[in-house]
Subunit: 205 residues, 2 copies
DNA sequence: AACATCGTGGTACGTTCGTATCACAAACCC
DNA sequence: GGGTTTGTGATACGAACGTACCACGATGTT
């Protein structure tokens, strides 16, 4: 049976199985055997492509961050057609909210990894810590552009505002995740804050 | 040896041992034996006072939430002496940031529980989900009072603002926890946002 | 054709975990 | 003061976990 096989592809498949099963049952509850079953391969294979569970988790995290980064930037690009930069800002912030299954899983697992990273140096050094920095830079740049087009209220510090908005979005995301808040109310909150930053361009005076 | 013993007190001691060891090594890594060792009792005793690990975790969470709620409200009360309501708002938001060991542990464990609660109904029904609601109400009330005293900028919705600020504080807290951001920069961000809500009362024009 | 390597399966090993069981001494009750 | 309850110790048990080991067929190389 053993034809030559693309290792990278195989690893990706297994990592996606990890993400699926971890999304269903929680990262803490997932074992190598679960991942193997979910991926439809034997336990031995998971061991073969990842030697250790830690490496599997690390790679799964990379996969997760990559997939979600693509999702967010795709949404932002899609919003780029619309009139103002506010649409892109909204797209960036809203895309990070856990509104559907995929983003719920992302939020959930990202938070799980963050918790593990508190005491795991290997995880703490992982680029998923750097990804928020990228989002921060992107949002800051968007706000700066809006500022130059005099679309923002005076007195707004683009970087501080970007950091705050991202933190707010993340915090709201957690609230949604645990069922404390509905996605709709989170959107309302974010919108209100954007309204206080952007000069009123909505039809509602 | 067995004198009659105060069960509630014993349970509290053991739960605090749980919090300590979970704070050191992560909630996912703590077992009954670890808790027993930390509390200086035998494994059997932990079993005796809590029948199951789940009950121990639940009680530990209650303990954690209670202890932290007291801490925050104490800080808010202490800030009540100062001139404006802004001081109390700041106290409320800053007290939730993981700046020292105690608040770091709280943030870390609270997030751990939140992650577990995503797939654990017993945890999801726990009052630690309701505690943020209390904070939200308190902060909303503080902002309303400030609003009546015309201390706020016009166009501010007290409730939406409260929700947003708490989410922002929580999000910033996570950033601090994973080492992405310093406590000082988080304070700066929060202050900037408060400056945009409160009419300028600082000496810096 | 011979041989080395790769992909794969099955399974065993040692550990750790949560829980259950057995035993017993001190304290309380009447 | 006999008997029940209560607090405590030690230890056993079954399951699950990550990992290691053994075997073997298919593939590629020379």
């Amino acid at each position: 049976m053993p034809k030559r096989v693309d290792h990278a592809e195989r690893r990706t498949e297994i990592a996606e199985a990890l993400i699926r099963v971890a999304g269903r049952r929680g990262l803490h509850a997932v074992g190598m055997r679960d991942v193997a079953a979910e991926a439809g391969v034997s336990l031995r294979l998971v061991q073969y492509y990842f030697q250790t569970k830690e490496k599997l988790l690390l790679f799964g995290l990379e996969q997760l961050a990559e997939r979600f980064g693509e999702r967010v930037s795709a949404r932002v690009r899609a919003a780029g057609d619309q009139p103002g930069p506010r649409a892109m800002v909204e797209a960036l912030l809203m895309a990070a909210l856990p509104t559907d299954d995929e983003s719920r899983t992302f939020h959930h697992l990202y938070t799980s990894y963050a918790v593990l990273a508190v005491h795991d140096q290997a995880l703490a050094a992982q680029p998923f810590i750097k990804n928020p920095d990228a989002a921060e830079d992107a949002l800051t740049e968007l706000l700066r552009q809006a500022q130059e087009a005099t679309l923002l209220e005076p007195g707004v510090d683009a970087r501080l505002e970007a950091v705050g908005l991202l933190a707010m979005s993340a915090g709201l995301g957690t609230s949604i995740l645990v069922g404390q808040r509905s996605p709709e109310s989170a959107v309302t909150v974010l919108d209100h804050h954007l309204n206080r930053i952007f000069r009123t361009g909505d039809e509602a005076g």
